[in-house]
């Protein structure tokens, strides 16, 4: 008897794990978003300061790109992120590792770290602008402070939550302290650290934009603030859309990274 040929319904294909399905899902949800936007802006909301149709936003964005303004703002914001974010990740990892390694240090610093993590750091953005100026430095400072805490917390949690049974197994095969770290504790903490980085990146984006609101000469935040002051809603939304795309790309990138370096995890 030949195996029964199963008809795959389009819906169950869409729910599948293939690359084609996930690209299709992404395109579908983007299309849906654009349609809802266009319809609301054309027929539902006629306050043009609040919302303009997606097509107009695309036009405004095109003008920005053509004039070279887009590249200037993109360059500045990217530069700030490229300096600050790796520093936040590496610094957060080192501090998290120190906390995980020493109980007295952890217990002493825990209240301060908790307070700082829950503090809305962006409230300090005007302070950094005043202290460090309108240039890149004040943005770097805000981004580091925004992004570092989730990396610290997750590194610490990841390094301390390896199963004692696995550590004992490693020891029974002759592993010393460093080998336990390398073969058990660190691999165990990888998914924790990646989800810390994911949260950190979202916070870094908020940080860089808000810091640019409060005084800058270029950058997406600067462009958004400038557009708002001159009531150019289409231009403002153009930059917001780009930020959304950046967030989406970063998230997809981190998921791909996690698949690569932590392939043992179930999705």
């Amino acid at each position: 008897m030949s195996p029964p040929t199963r008809r795959v319904s389009p819906l169950s294909w869409l729910g599948g794990a293939t690359r084609g399905a996930s690209v299709t899902r992404l395109l579908l949800s983007l299309t849906l978003f654009l349609v809802v936007w266009q319809v609301s802006a054309t027929y539902l909301i006629d306050n043009r300061l609040l919302l303009v149709p997606a097509t107009e936003v695309a036009g405004a964005l095109y003008d920005e790109i053509a004039s070279g303004e887009f590249a200037r703002h993109l360059g500045t914001t990217l530069l700030e992120l490229v300096i600050a974010f790796p520093l936040a990740v590496v610094g957060g990892f080192v501090i998290g590792a120190v906390l995980a390694g020493s109980k007295p240090v952890r217990q002493t610093l825990d209240p301060i770290l908790t307070a700082l993590y829950s503090l809305p750091i962006v409230a300090l953005a005007p302070l950094f602008t005043a202290g460090l100026g309108f240039g890149v430095a004040s943005k770097v400072a805000v981004v580091i402070l925004m992004a570092i805490f989730p990396v610290i917390t997750n590194t610490d949690a990841g390094l301390r939550s390896a199963e004692p049974a696995l550590i004992e197994t490693a020891r029974s095969y002759g592993a010393g302290r460093l080998q336990v770290l390398r073969t058990v504790t660190l691999p165990h903490s990888v998914p924790f650290i990646i989800s810390g980085i994911r949260v950190a990146f979202a916070r870094a984006l908020v940080g860089v934009i808000v810091a640019e609101f409060f005084g800058a000469v270029a950058g997406f935040g600067f462009a958004i603030a400038a557009a708002a002051q001159s009531y150019q809603t289409a231009r403002l939304l153009g930059y917001v859309v780009v930020l959304g795309v950046v967030g989406l790309v970063a998230s997809i990138g981190l998921t791909a990274l996690e698949r690569r370096i932590a392939p043992w995890k179930e999705d």
């Binding site: 049974a165 696995l166 004992e168 197994t169 020891r171 029974s172 095969y173 073969t183 990888v190 043992w264």
Partner: protein, 265 residues
């Protein structure tokens, strides 16, 4: 018998007291004497809490005795050694490593090149019938398969002594029977010394040359029961009256304690 030869074990007057922080200390073992000959298959049974796992950790060198001495192959046990390999009850496979890398784990830790270690690991996987699973991750395997990987990892370092702590306890009854027969087949090929802990008395009698019965609180050797059934043994042995008599005898030795540990009298 020369217990100072490779694979021989001498436990002499060993006691172990735990001092848990902020709790009363626990005398887990007291005055344990035991000798195991090279190539012997010894099972240890006893009520829950009688110190079986503690005894095995002592033999492996993961903990050191409070009193007394342990030697393996004539050398004092001062810590884990590649001469001994431990198989824990939960399979304790590294979830981030593939099956073949899990089996190669001890070899790579010991300094062997990864490619060579993987070759040896592959051979061991064939021995336990899992050659096809080499590239999978542990979570993709059934409980029985994971436990076979666990055993292959221990065999891969080619130890003189294999220490197993209730390795089949988490498996269903049928899988457990098959696995113990498999273990005997593997053991008979190169006759490593085996110390095997179980709470299944029939499993102990089926496998062992001698069954060590521990009494609880504090754990000490109650009796050592020789098991003389001819080898190779197959599962039909378990249905003979002689087998039942040995099982009944061991059960009578620990029944009171098992009842006691349940609060029954």
């Amino acid at each position: 018998m020369d217990f100072t030869r490779p694979g021989g074990i001498v436990v002499d007057g060993v006691g172990l007291t735990f001092h848990p922080p902020r709790r009363d200390s626990v005398v887990a073992l007291e005055n344990v004497d035991l000798t195991v000959s090279p190539g012997e298959f010894v099972c240890v049974v006893g009520a829950s809490g009688s110190g079986k796992s503690t005894l095995l950790r002592l033999l492996d060198g993961l903990i050191t005795p409070t009193t007394g001495t342990i030697t393996a192959g004539g050398e004092p046990v001062t810590g884990p050694s590649p001469d001994r390999a431990m198989v824990f009850q939960s399979d304790n496979l590294m979830p981030w490593s593939t099956v073949v890398d899990n089996v190669a784990y001890g070899l790579v830790l010991g300094g062997m090149k990864r490619a060579r270690a993987r070759q040896i690991a592959t051979t061991q996987l064939e021995r336990v019938g899992l050659a096809d699973a080499a590239r999978l991750y542990p979570r993709q395997l059934s409980g029985g398969m994971r436990q076979r990987v666990n055993i292959a990892r221990a065999l891969a370092v080619d130890p003189q002594v294999l220490l197993l702590d209730e390795p089949f306890a988490a498996l269903d009854a049928q899988t457990r029977e098959i696995m113990s027969a498999e273990l005997l087949r593997i053991w008979s090929a190169d006759r490593k010394t085996v110390v095997f802990i179980t709470h299944q008395i029939d499993e102990a009698v089926f496998l062992a040359d001698r069954v060590v019965v521990l009494s609880a609180r504090p754990g000490t050797v109650r009796e050592i029961v020789p098991v003389d059934f001819a080898r190779p043994r197959d599962l039909s042995l378990k249905r003979t009256p002689e087998f039942g008599r040995v099982v009944d005898h061991i059960w009578s030795l620990i029944e009171d304690e098992v009842r006691g540990s349940l609060g029954l009298h």
